[in-house]
């Protein structure tokens, strides 16, 4: 049993290298509220002409943020997103993606 578990762990690490960092939803929320909230609104719900960014798969949000970070344009407000994404670390992107996946706006 022990041998099987060890093998599984090694395989998992090889298949998904991202597991080296365990994304932190709470840190993602803190980072979101530092800047992203100003356009995308609370909990990524989307406001005015800024799109909803919550409820997406982690892989989707990660890919979008990584592309913006590389300076790749993806829509009419890319000029806003690219400078916002430039300073994001891999960990911050992972945290944001995991937070936004299930983020819900609750009015206080």
């Amino acid at each position: 049993m022990l041998r099987f578990s060890s093998t599984l762990l090694v395989l998992t690490a090889l298949i998904s290298p991202q597991t080296a960092y365990s994304a932190d939803k709470a840190l993602g929320e803190i980072r979101y509220n530092e800047t992203c909230i100003n356009c995308h609104g609370p909990a990524g719900k989307g406001v005015a002409s800024y799109p909803k960014v919550s409820g997406q798969e982690i892989s989707y949000t990660t890919a979008k943020l990584e592309a913006y970070r590389k300076g790749i344009e993806q829509g009419s407000n890319s000029f806003l997103m690219i400078p916002m994404a430039k300073p994001l670390t891999d960990e911050e992107i992972a945290n944001l993606a995991v937070y936004l996946k299930d983020a819900k706006y609750v009015v206080e």
């Binding site: 800047t35 100003n38 609104g41 609370p42 406001v47 002409s49 806003l80 400078p83």
Partner: protein
């Protein structure tokens, strides 16, 4: 020195005792100031981009949701959906020509001053009805915004007798290579009834360089019209201008209100990465925005629009931008100088309302200004409501106090209620009632 100070303090104490004046009052005068207690509570929530509100004397509140339509909250709290955009559901009626796109949609709302007698309500929206052949490119007039007049039923459950009283406010039909370049950009949209009962319509430049200074186009203008959409007889625009125009040379006015002390109109508008502005309007005046290419020392610009130049998609010193395409260009002899320019920043100044009622204490008569804030290029986001004390001549300010709400949101619509509370819509989906309680 020590002895002198002690003597002075003894003297002050003696004076206070003799004349019965509190020491604190002698020190800075704050003792006599009425700083009100301000509190915000939610009136409605779960809305979709609530944009504007308008009140009847009994507290009935009409409100718009940009991509849905017009609704009313009656004085007992019941909500009736009155008039929706094409494809909306749950509304008593829909306008199949109405639509929303980016910044455009169902925006301003205001009742006629004689509503109690005539049940008339005005509504601003984007519409497909009058486009004709003029919307094939972004460089044509494209009449895509209208002002409608309705009759509201006695039971507040429906509207009827729609009459389109303004049908030729321009609209941006296609995406362009500009910041916020989607269709429907800079769409203005605030409606208010001013002194004498005339209707004021605040417009935007719809990302077209020639709009604000053009004599015939209504984009980038503030209109003053009657209930049929005809020009106020005293409007005084320059020779050759459309007589409905009260002021021109605007970028994107989403705030307009009238100072209670003298009825003077003030606008609030977004700046282009620099200088949000409050402006005291002068009949026939020029707000000084001219984003046209090949003028004002500029050459050609992307999409013939210099509004974000000289570097439209990267952060740079707002003062450099302001020098290139100023919000208030001093080369215009009829310029209305800005009352306030947000310290050179552009943070999304949207709506504005003068605070009325003695319950607002030292803030009574100040202009409350909703600021949305996006924090681009080093500008602090600053989502807030400012309370601005404006000088009597309207050409400057005495000071600004941030409204102590305890939270920050994108404050889209501000309007005073009949209860002397400030009602505020936020893009996240709520309408707040902000009360002020005098401490006297």
């Amino acid at each position: 020195m020590k002895k002198i100070s002690s003597s002075f303090l003894s003297g002050a104490l003696a004076s206070a005792l003799i004349f019965g004046v509190p020491l604190a009052a002698q020190a800075d005068g704050h003792e006599g100031m009425d700083v009100p207690k301000i509190n915000a509570t939610i009136v409605l929530k779960g809305l979709e981009n609530p944009w504007d509100m308008a009140f009847l004397p009994d507290g009935t509140m009409f409100y718009t949701e940009k991509c849905k339509g017009l609704s009313v909250r009656t004085k007992d709290g019941t909500v009736n959906a009155l008039y929706g955009v094409k494809g909306s559901s749950g509304y008593a009626a829909t306008g199949d020509d109405l639509f929303c796109e980016a910044q455009a949609g169902v925006l301003g709302v205001v009742p006629d001053r004689h509503f109690a007698k005539n049940r008339i309500l005005y509504l601003y929206s984007s519409s497909m009805k009058y486009r004709g052949d003029g919307c094939k490119t972004n460089f044509e007039r494209c009449d895509g915004n209208i002002v409608m007049r309705f009759k509201v039923s006695d039971d507040l459950k429906s509207v009827s007798d729609r009459t389109d009283i303004v049908t030729d406010i321009q609209y941006k039909p296609f995406k362009s290579n500009q910041p916020f370049g989607d269709p429907g950009a800079h769409n203005g949209g605030r409606l208010r009834v001013g002194p004498g009962g005339y209707l004021w319509v605040a417009g935007g430049d719809r990302h077209r360089g020639v709009c604000p200074q053009d004599p015939a186009l209504l984009c980038g203008k503030v209109l003053r019209i009657d209930m049929d959409g005809k020009a106020h007889p005293d409007n005084n625009p320059p020779e050759g201008f459309d007589k409905r125009i009260y002021t021109y040379g605007h970028r994107n006015v989403q705030g307009i209100d009238f100072r209670p002390s003298d009825g003077k109109a003030f606008t609030a508008e977004h700046g282009p990465w620099h200088n949000d502005e409050i402006t005291a309007l002068v009949n026939g005046g020029n707000a000084g925005w001219d984003p046209a290419q090949n003028t004002g020392g500029r050459g050609e610009c992307p999409d013939e629009y210099c509004g974000y130049e000289p570097n439209q998609k990267e952060g740079m010193d707002p003062a450099v931008r302001a020098a290139y395409t100023p919000m208030s260009d001093t080369r215009f002899k009829d310029l209305m100088p800005a009352t306030w320019n947000n310290n050179g920043f552009s943070q999304g100044t949207g709506s504005a309302a003068f605070l009325k009622g003695s319950n607002w204490g030292i803030y009574e008569g100040r202009l409350a200004v909703g600021i949305m804030g996006i924090g681009f290029g080093g500008t602090p986001p600053g989502s807030r409501i400012d309370m601005i004390s404006i000088t009597p001549d309207g050409l400057g300010i005495n000071g600004i106090t941030r409204m102590p709400l305890g939270f920050s949101k994108r404050f889209r619509g501000l309007v005073m209620g009949p209860d002397n509370a400030l009602y505020v819509s936020v893009d996240a989906g709520e309408i707040y009632k902000v009360t002020a309680e005098s401490m006297k």
